[in-house]
Symmetry: D2
């Protein structure tokens, strides 16, 4: 059994980790870290776990935790994981960080977009960006995984094969993204109240959302050169789900079959990526509660553009599910262990 | 492997059966019956099953099905299962009927509330009412299971111990129930359109809902004598979940601890029934996607009443989950096999 | 023009007052009081008012306000209005209090249910309970109006004629109420976050909700004697609307027409009360954005009970709309002035 | 009093016309046309109108109607209004068509995108495209108004000033639109059921939505030359509201102030268009129930693009409200008569 500790177990992503790991047959969850609810029963914070989780929340003593567990997940605000990291911990346990602290290789870019001084930039280089379908082999050998952001996972996977194959003009790439509200976390803010979100849709972080440089960096690796793009997130009145609608000019005339073939080449063997049939476009509800990313596309010959669409559960493949997928890779398990959720409908 | 066929696999309850059985390790699902979508790919009707279910829908030929499977689930409109039933089928396979056809022992009550002439009343007596926690031993030996209604499961289980112990005045029992919209099925009706249900709440079937006599009959068995009660369902703008709020006069002065002890006696060993802590009342979200029923209560000394509350996922414990629980009992499996879902939150 | 000041203009009820008064042709709104947003532009707090309201928020200096306006609305937490009240203010302006401070005549009941020491109980007796359809004549002559609570308005009006006529056994009266989330206010609390409320329903304040004694007191006046009842509120995932479902034993055998006639006698000339047709039950969406209360009922001969149902917009007739109706009465205007909203559908 | 008839009064747009006209002091609504509900009480179809509208639905006899009224609104499926039109009717009454039949000047484009043979193309040229803020003077003199589509109104108004001023590269213009579900109408279709729409977001009509050529034609007039663009609508789980997010490359370096000044020049005097403050982006909730379009923008110097955003209530400014605005212009009334709705929040 793999012994697991979580720092930040009472946020929505942390809670989803607990849900997934509760059904993971190779895992024993031994540390439910939560500074806010320390010493309270975990099931009193999330009553869905009543009769399932019997433990109390503990604090965030990573040194102590590192002596007890094999892997630590950090599902905490930006900067916290970075501040806790040191060589001793990494020598004892694997660390899978769900925050952005180790995702961006250029520390100055991180510091500019996040407005934080990175306390331990010396670990950034060794950290592996945990986008499993792209970096699988590197992940297996890593000590420190930078688990991708929710928007970025969906945005990158949707465009990746076409960017890598040079089929689209990357300088025309525009990503219009829509997310359920769980992506905003469980903080008590007026803007996230039911009455403010319900019956409403809005863009936010226009031109300034922190997932922008992360998407640019990773798609830049695929393309072979860095480029900029527009990324605009929107808040949708639903709990879970991300949909991205991506637009780009085609570099040359292509057929539906050519594009489909490229997606198949890259993703045809991927258990969690589903390339939809012709004329079918993804809906977030078809992936809810699962680790799938559904991808569809349309070639618009009138404008010579391709519209690529991807849908995903932001808390599963966009956070906790992908983190567990990374853990499975790190420990040599079947990659889908504990993640074979059939999407819940309706 | 238990071979399974479903008649009515493309309704919401049928679809939920497919979801649950897809993860049930002792089951092979070999017949996806759907008159409406016959010969269409099942995954084209419910795209959450893309890459998971590869079969096409078949019709409703129960004779042919009975030769191929060990158990048939019928998740069809009232009257259909009854019309298909005969001795030959019951001699070959187990039948678990999710409709109301075999739930009510007095055929005249059935015919009055449902406005249908029962085509095969001769099987009503042998049918076992599949409320697992109450009729477990009878279920194990049955050929034909009448799977309880959604409202009834939650309504009965919430009050059952106190009715049976004679602690409440059954003639004062009032059940005010609230359900998500999946309970209304997938029929294309104006009253179930998003714009009609969203931002709205209403009572319906006031004084005339068909689950009323079913609740009365079963609680009558517990009480030892038949009685009438009020049951009022409401439609809530959410997909899943049933909450019941039940009111009754207490027969004598009781303490919280006495009542709690009674619930514990009846349900303390039940895996799927959770008696909440003092002062905690059930919320549908805490059980979503799971087979749990959560129960709480409050004693109001001002009015000498007890308010009992129960919450449940109408498609799981209220339909497909309980049906699978019945199947597990019928085939001697661990009762919770395939049903260990952790509730999905948020 | 009537000059108006609001204390607590940036809560949901205060905001609804601003919306209604912005369209009231006899009113000039001169003071937008908000301790939290003092000196900020009102339209920056509620951007629906951009280009409509140009004023900034002011503080809560009631003495200064009393010199500038003819009527003050207080839409503030319990205890604040009571603490501000004195003879001088009441000698200068009319006060319409949307909090509970002056609703309950027995100060010990107020103090027990609200857990507050009432700072100025000497004004409780003169305060008129502002349920317009019941206390119209008294309201016209009042200085201080206790505007009824949202649940109470709907609960009382739905049962009032039958209680007053002695047709129901008041000791069996049970009120099961359901409210949209705007009733919980705009405070930043985890329990009111979108992800916690959406796809969820729960009871709260079971046996202890503060509107209970208010309903009991007012229906006690109608009945001629005080009695106790059960009132259970539920939180529904929608913004606006209250539905009450009320159960009581009938004192004698009655026909539908008799009951209908009684409702007509009491409410037939009331502009804002609509008694629905036979077999039609109220839905909150049919009254959204309006000052209507819709009422329907069903006689259950099986159980000798009547089920009465009422629906209302909690922010209009349940708060700001009724407050303006009271203001119209106080100033001798047509009672419906500024309140002729057609309900918004869908 | 202007006498008004509506053909298609029982669709959502027709119903919104009734709501608005019920409060319009210069209008008498004398014909509620509805083929589906002929001879039924209008208020039994939409119970929000109980006690407000007392008329029954009539059929669609436009000849008879033309003798009774001054203006006819048609809120009907594509093709119907066109089939009813003739010189005699236009000589008697004004016609405001909410369908697409007379919006597109090139009949072959209409016939291609709508798949309908236009029965009366001879009236297309004289029809005036009823986008009030753009075609005000022409509207005043028209007999036949082609009321713009919902998506098109919001899409065009958001980009119009910058297109007309040549500030953006129109060949890079991409419109990503999001709409509430009332835009899909009241037809009983599975895809519009509550359970299918709720907790879901999807794109639809990708590359093929019928509003595309309408937007292209109108923006082409502004630009002085026709061009193509991408328009992608999405279905959002809310009743009302459209948000458009539009992307285009800037033709030259511009400042925020320059762009703001251009919007002010075009829209500064427009009562229903609100240009938001710097850093504020539109939300559909801030305009709900009103005739406003809110517009905001962000200049992204990293990518040399501008992101323009517009929000609107699809049933008001996107349908019935704009239709009434057109009527006001046609009859020489104050343009905002009957349309001074304060947006309803929350």
């Amino acid at each position: 059994m793999i012994k697991v500790g979580i720092i930040g177990a009472t946020g929505y992503a942390g809670q989803e980790l607990v849900r997934i790991l509760a059904g993971h047959k190779e895992v024993e969850l031994v540390w439910y870290g939560s500074q806010s609810y320390k010493e309270q029963s975990y099931a009193s914070v999330y009553r869905n776990f009543f009769h399932i989780v019997h433990a109390d929340c503990k604090g965030d003593n990573i040194q102590e935790m590192a002596n007890l567990v094999d892997v630590i997940f950090t599902a905490t605000p930006q900067g916290l994981c970075a501040s806790l990291m040191d060589e001793e911990i990494l020598s004892k346990v694997k660390v899978i960080d769900l925050s952005a602290d180790f995702r961006i290789k250029d520390v100055s870019v991180y510091e500019k977009w996040y407005g934080i001084v990175h306390p331990n930039p010396q670990f950034i280089q060794e950290a592996v960006y945990g986008l499993c379908e792209v970096n699988r082999e590197k992940i297996k050998k890593a000590r420190l995984i930078a688990n991708p952001g929710c928007y970025t996972t969906c945005s990158i996977l949707t465009a990746y094969p076409l960017v890598k194959e040079g089929l689209i003009d990357v300088n025309t790439l525009i990503i219009d993204a829509k997310s359920g509200t769980s992506g905003a976390g469980r903080g008590a803010k007026i803007s996230n109240l039911f009455c403010e979100v319900n019956e409403n849709i809005k863009a936010y972080g226009v031109g300034s959302h922190r997932h922008t440089p992360e998407i640019e960096e990773q798609l830049g690796y695929a393309y072979g050169k860095q480029f900029t793009l527009n990324f605009t997130p929107h808040l949708v009145p639903m709990n879970r789900g991300i949909l991205v609608t991506e637009y780009a000019n085609l570099q040359r005339s292509v057929t539906y079959e050519e594009i489909k073939e490229i997606y198949n080449t890259y993703y045809g063997n991927e258990e969690f990526l589903r390339i939809l049939e012709k004329g079918i476009y993804p809906e977030t509800k078809w992936v809810e509660g699962s680790n799938f990313v559904d991808i569809g596309f349309h070639i618009d010959t009138r404008t010579n553009r391709i519209i690529m669409m991807g849908a995903m559960d932001n808390l599963v493949k966009g956070a906790a599910g992908q983190a567990v997928q990374n853990m499975n890779l790190l420990f040599g398990l079947e990659e889908s262990t504990g993640l074979e959720f059939v999407p819940v409908y309706p």
